[in-house]
Symmetry: D2
Subunit: 393 residues, 4 copies
C-alpha cells in the first residue's frame, strides 16, 4: 500500500482536532493509503514536544519551513492562525506537498487567489477545512437536495451564534486581532455558513452586510498567538478589539434564492448554535450544530395530513460515514467532522481525485467574505462578480 507522511503545523485547538482525526481514520475506516503522523510543528519547543507525544506524532519540529522542506513529507496540514496560511501553503505547494489549510483561507482575497494559483501550478492536491460538510447530517442534507426532495431553493437562512465574549472582561485573544485573524465572527463563523450555502444552494450573486463591535476594548492577557483562552499578558491594560463581534448580511444567489446570514459571539446562551435552514418549492431542511446528529426535513410530497418536519437521527448505516461508527442511535461528537475530513482527503489523494472543498472553494468563500466587508464600508450592495479574478488557465 502506498504511503503518505503527514506534517501538521499548529498544535492548539485545530492541531488537537486534526491530530485525533488522523489517529481515528485508521481506527474507524479502511483508508487506501498507509499514512503516518510524521511530524507536528509549533514555535514553542516544550509545548510542541509534549503535544507531539500526547497526540501520537513520531516527531516534532519548531520551524514550519523545515517541515515543508523535508523530502519525506507528502501532506502539509495547516492549522495555524489565518495570517500564516498563505506563506506556509505556498511554500508547501512549491515543495510539491499536498495542502490542507484551515479556514478562512487567508487575510485577503488577493492572498487567497495567490494561494490558489500556486497549488494549481504545483499540481498538488489541496483542501480547505470547511469541516461542516463532513457532518453526516449535512451530507444527508446535500443528498436530499441532490435527490430533488426540496425542489427549487427559495431561502437560505443561516446563523452561527456563540457567546464566549459577551463578558467585557474576557481578555483580548488573537481571534480579536485583525492582523492575525483577518476578521472576527465574520471570517470565523460566516465563513462556515457561506461555504455551506455554496455547497447546498449554489453561488452567491451579491451581498449587503453590517457588522458591530459591541466591546471595543478588552483587558490584555489572552493568548495572542493561536489557542483559546490561555492567558499570558498584562490584564491591567486595555487593548483594542480590531475585529467584528457580529456580522450580518443579506444575499442574492445566482439561482434566484435569497439568503440571510448572521454570525455573532454575543448571543448569550448560544454556545455553538450553527443553524441553517433551506426552504425549497417541495420541502425544507433545517440543521443545528448543537444537535449535529439530527436533521430536520419537511416534504410537501408526503400526504397532506402527515406532513411535518421529521427529526432524522442521522446515525443509521445508510447515512454517509455512519456504518463505520456505532449502532443506530449512538451519536458521534464534534471532532469526527475532522475525522471524516481526514479520511476523505486521504482517499482523494489515494485515488487522485479532486477534493471538495478545495482552495478554489476557499477563494469563492473569501470573495463573499470580502464582498460583505466592502458592502459594509460602502453601505450598499456588492456584486461578487466585481471581486472575481479571472484567471486564464
Amino acid at each position: 500500500m502506498a504511503e503518505l507522511n503527514i506534517g501538521l503545523i499548529g498544535y492548539k485547538f485545530m492541531g488537537k482536532a486534526h491530530s485525533q482525526a488522523y489517529r481515528n481514520v485508521n481506527f474507524y475506516f479502511e483508508p487506501s493509503l498507509d499514512y503516518r503522523l510524521k511530524v507536528l510543528c509549533g514555535r514553542n519547543e516544550k509545548n510542541v514536544k509534549e503535544a507531539s507525544e500526547k497526540y501520537g506524532w513520531e516527531e516534532y519540529e519548531t520551524d514550519w519551513r523545515k517541515v515543508v522542506e523535508r523530502d519525506d513529507i507528502d501532506l502539509v496540514d495547516i492549522g495555524t492562525p489565518t495570517n500564516t496560511h498563505k506563506e506556509i501553503a505556498i511554500a508547501a505547494a512549491r515543495a510539491g506537498k499536498h495542502v490542507l489549510c484551515e479556514k478562512p483561507l487567508a487575510l485577503s482575497l488577493a492572498d487567497a487567489n495567490e494561494m490558489l494559483r500556486e497549488v494549481k501550478k504545483a499540481g498538488v492536491k489541496h483542501m480547505v477545512g470547511f469541516t461542516y460538510r463532513r457532518v453526516p447530517a449535512i451530507a444527508l442534507a446535500k443528498r436530499l437536495i441532490d435527490e430533488g426532495r426540496i425542489g427549487a431553493i427559495h431561502h437560505v437562512r443561516a446563523n452561527y451564534l456563540q457567546d464566549w465574549i459577551v463578558d467585557p472582561e474576557f481578555p483580548l485573544v488573537w481571534r480579536m486581532d485583525k492582523a492575525v485573524a483577518g476578521s472576527g465572527s465574520h471570517g470565523d463563523l460566516n465563513a462556515h455558513m457561506i461555504d455551506l450555502a455554496r455547497y447546498l444552494c449554489g453561488e452567491f450573486e451579491e451581498v449587503m452586510g453590517m457588522s458591530k463591535t459591541f466591546v471595543k476594548e478588552r483587558p490584555d492577557g489572552g493568548d495572542m498567538d493561536g489557542g483559546l483562552g490561555a492567558s499570558t499578558g498584562d490584564q491591567a491594560k486595555l487593548g483594542k478589539v480590531t475585529v467584528d463581534d457580529a456580522t450580518l448580511f443579506l444575499a442574492n444567489f445566482e439561482n434566484g434564492a435569497i439568503g440571510n446570514f448572521e454570525a455573532t459571539r454575543f448571543a448569550t446562551g448560544r454556545k455553538n448554535k450553527n443553524c441553517i435552514e433551506i426552504n425549497g418549492s417541495k420541502g425544507s431542511i433545517a440543521f443545528n450544530f448543537e444537535r449535529m446528529n439530527e436533521l430536520q426535513f419537511f416534504s410537501k410530497e408526503d400526504e397532506e395530513h402527515i406532513q411535518g418536519f421529521r427529526t432524522i437521527l442521522v446515525t443509521e448505516p445508510c447515512h454517509k460515514y455512519m456504518s463505520s461508527w456505532w449502532p443506530a442511535g449512538h451519536i458521534i461528537g464534534y471532532e469526527h467532522c475532522f475525522t471524516h475530513q481526514a479520511f476523505d482527503l486521504i482517499e482523494a489523494i489515494a485515488s487522485d481525485q479532486k477534493i471538495s472543498p478545495d482552495l478554489e472553494d476557499g477563494v469563492r468563500c473569501q470573495e463573499v467574505i470580502e464582498a460583505v466587508e466592502q458592502s459594509i464600508e460602502k453601505r450598499g450592495w456588492v456584486k461578487i462578480e466585481s471581486l472575481r479574478e479571472h484567471v486564464t488557465s
Copy 2:
C-alpha cells in the same frame, strides 16, 4: 330546525369549560340543531346566578332535581364531583333526558354499571366526558392507526404528570377526598389514559398496579365541593388525604400489546403533561398534551434514509375539526376539546347516531380503574374479565 335545550349541572371548572363549549359550537361550527343554553345549576344561589349570567345561560337553578324534572330540558350535562354523577344521571335518564357525564363515571364500577343500565333502558343518548378524544392531534392519531400506518401495536406508554400538590402545605380539596372523588390521580388522570388506550389500541386484558400517597395529611381549608383551590376551611387543622397521589400500572391488552401507565400529581415541573406513545410494527405515534396541537409520527414505510419522527402541526384544514378554526399554524387551546365534544354530541343527537365514548366506554374504563385498584390490594395481576358484568340485553 329542531331544538335542543341544555341543562348543565355544575358551574366551576367543568361548568366553565362546558359553558364555553356550548357558546362556541354555534360560533365556529354549523350544528344541525338549534340548541339553547337553558339552565345552569349549582347549590350556591349567588354563585350560580353570577355564573349563569357570565357564561350566557338563560336561567339558573339551585336544585339539580328541578332541572332534571323540567319538561323543556332535553340534555342534562353533569359537571359535578364524581360522587354525585350516579344519582343525577339516573334521574335524568329516567326523565328521558340525554346525558353527558364527566369522567370518571362513578365512584365504583357497580355504580357505573347501574348508570349504564338505566340510560340504555331509557333509550336516551349518553356520552362520557373523555375530551382528549376530541383533541385534533388525537383524532389524527386515531386516523393514522385506522389507516394501518403503524401496523400491529406492540406498546402503549402513557403518563399523565402534574405537580399541583407537591407542596405539602397545599390544602385538602375535594379531589383528595375518596368519598367525593372516588380516587386521586388514578380516577382523575389514569381514567383519561385508559380511555385513550382503549380508543387507540383496544381492550385491556389484565392489569397490575401500585399507588402511593406521598403526603398523607394536609392543612384543611381547600374547596371541598367542586372547584380547584378556593379556600374556605380552617387551615390550622390537618386533614387526612384519602386518595392516591400517584398510581402506576402495567397492562396486557387483548390484542397482544403491552402497556405502561403512570398518573401522578407529584411530577415537579410537569403541569399537565399527558403523554401517550404507541409503537407498532410499522410506525409509532407520540403525543404530549402540553403541546396539544402537535402529533409525532414515525413511519417505517418512509425510505430508510429519511425516516424520523415527524412533528405534525395539526392545524391544517385536512385535520379533523380544524377547517372551522384559523389558518394553518394558528393553534387552538385546551377548552376546545370541550367545544368539539359539544359539537359531536349535538350532531349525534341530531342524527340519532351512537356517540363515542358513551357510558359503555365509561363502564369499560371503570372496569380497568377498579381492576387496578384490586391489583394494588392483592399485589398481583387482575383480569378485567373477572370484573365484568355480563348483561343479557
Copy 3:
C-alpha cells in the same frame, strides 16, 4: 356601570377573531364597562347578516359610514383590508368614536400620520391591532426585560415564516394586490415583528432591506376583497402579483442593538412560525408563535453549571392574563391574543388611560416599513429619522 357600544367593520378573518374576543371578555374577565356587540358591518348583506347572527352581534350594516354616524356607537373597530383603514378611522375619529384599527395601519406613512393627527385632534382613544403584545409569553418577555434580566440588548433576531403561497397555482388574493394590501409579507408579517422589536428592544435608527417576489403571476380566482382563499374569479387567467413574497432587512437600533428581520410566505413547512430571539448582556429570550404558550429564557445570573435555556410554560396564575383561564399546563389558543386586546382596550377606555400600542405606535411601525421599502429601492441604508414627520403639538 358605564356602557360601551361597539361597531365592527369587517366580518371575515379579522372580523371573526375580533367578534370572539368581545364575546369572551365577559366570559373570562371582569371588564369595568358594560359593553355590547352592537353592529357588525360588511358590504355583502347576505354574508354580513349571517355573520352577525353567528358571531352574536345585535345588528348588521352594509355601509360603514352609517356605523360611524350612529350616535349609539362608542368604539369603531376596523378589521378590513389595509386600503380602507384611513378613511374609516378618520371618519370615526371625527365622529368622536374610539378607534381600534388592524395592522398595518395604512397603505403609506403619510396616510398613517394623517390618521394619527385626526385621532389626536378628536381626543378619542385609539389602538392598533398588534395582538402579539397580548400573547402571555410575550408579556412575560417584556416583564423579564423590564426586570433587567437580560441586561443591555445586543441582538434582535426575528423571522416570521409562512408557506401558504409556495404553490404557484395558489390563486391571486387581495393580500397580493398592492393597491389593497400595501405590501405583501412585509406589511403583513414584518409589521408584527417591527412592533415587537420596538416593544421589547426600543426604537429603530436605520434599516437596510431586500425583497423578492418568487411567483410573479398567479391564476385569478381568489378572494380579492378581504378573506382568505374564497375563490370568485376566472381561474384560467393569470394576474400579476404586485407585492413581495418575502422581505428581509437588517437594522440598527437607537440603543446600539442590531437586528435581523425576515418575513416570508415561502418557507415550506413553516405555517405561522413567528420567532423572535433577543440576546442581552445578561441573558436571552426566545419565542416561537407556533408554541405560543412557551417562552425560552436563559440567564447568565444562574450558577454556571445550571445555566441553560428554560422552557417556561406560560400558563401559571402569576403570568399576565392566565389567572382568568385554566389550571396551569392547560394551554390557550391563537384567538385569545384578540381577547386580551379587547379586554385591555375596554379597560383603557373605562379608566381613561393611554393604550399601548396606539396609532402613534402604528405610525412608528409604518415609518420602519416604509424606510425598508426605500432602502430596497435605493439599495442602501435609510435612517428612520429621515421619514419622521415632526408635529408641533
Copy 4:
C-alpha cells in the same frame, strides 16, 4: 510513573468501544499511570489479529486464559458476551489482576455473587461497565441531586427504547439466546436503568414486572457469538428466541420513591432512547441518551414566573470531564462514556481508591434484575431483600 498493562478480552462492539477509550485517555486526559494497550484477545485469530492492529494493541491472543496468566498483565477488561464473564473474571482475580467487566455482570445472581466474593478475596480493583454514569450530563444530574437541588425524590421514570428487532425477519443473534445473554432487553437495557436509578435515587426495596417476546421465532443466520448483525448461519431455518423483547417493571425504593421502568427493542423509531426522569420535592431532572450532551433541570427554587425546564448543554468547562474536550457547544459522542470510564478506572488504580460502580454494584443490579424475573414468574411483588446474600466479611 507506574505502569499498567491492559489485556482486553473481546474485540467486537465492546472491544472496539473499550479500545478507543484506552487510546483516547492519553490523548484527552492526564492519567497518573503509564498504561499500555498490551494484548487484545478473541477466538478467531484472523479477526483478532486485524482488530489488534486496527485498534492499536501491541499483541493479540486467541485464548483468554493465556492473557489472564501472563505476568505482565495488570488489568483484565472483559468485553465478551455475558455467559463468559464469570469464568474470566474469577480467573483474572485469582491471578491478581484488576478486573473491568461489562454489564450485565453474569447470567445469574449466584454467579455475580461468586464473582464479587472472588474479587474481594483477591483484593484487586474491580469495576462493572455501567458507562452511563460517565455521561457528563448524568454526572451533572448526580451533582444536582447531591447538592439537594431536587429535594426528596418521589419518582424515577426510566425507559430504554430501541427498535432494532421490530422486523420479524431480523435474524437470531446471540443477544436473543438466553444461554449466552442471560436475558434480552432486560439484562441489556434495564440493567443500565437499574444502575442509574441506584446511582441517582438509592436502593430498590421491591419490584413487580412483566415481559413479552413479540416474535418467538426468527431466521437463523445472525452472529451468535458476540457482534451485532453479522450474518453467518442458514437463513432458511427458524430458531427460537429464548429471551424477552421487552421487560417492564414497577418499583418501590427504600427511601419512599417509586419507580417505573421499561426496556424494549420494539419501540419503532426509537433508536437508543435511554430516558430517565427524576421528580423530587424541589425539582426534577430529565435525560435522553439520544441527546446525551443535554440535561433538563427544573427548579422550584427559581422565582415563580421564570420556572421552567432548563436545557443545559453540558459542554462547559465547569461540567465534569468537559474541560478536557472542546470549547463549549461542541458536543461529544457515545464512545466517550467509555473514555471517561477508562480514565476513572486508571485513576482509581493509580490512587488505590474504590471504584464506583464496582462488582458490588453489579451484584446489586443483578439482584434487581433477578427479582424482576421472579416477580414475572410468580405474578406478584418480590422484595430485593429476599434475594440478598448476606456475606460476613
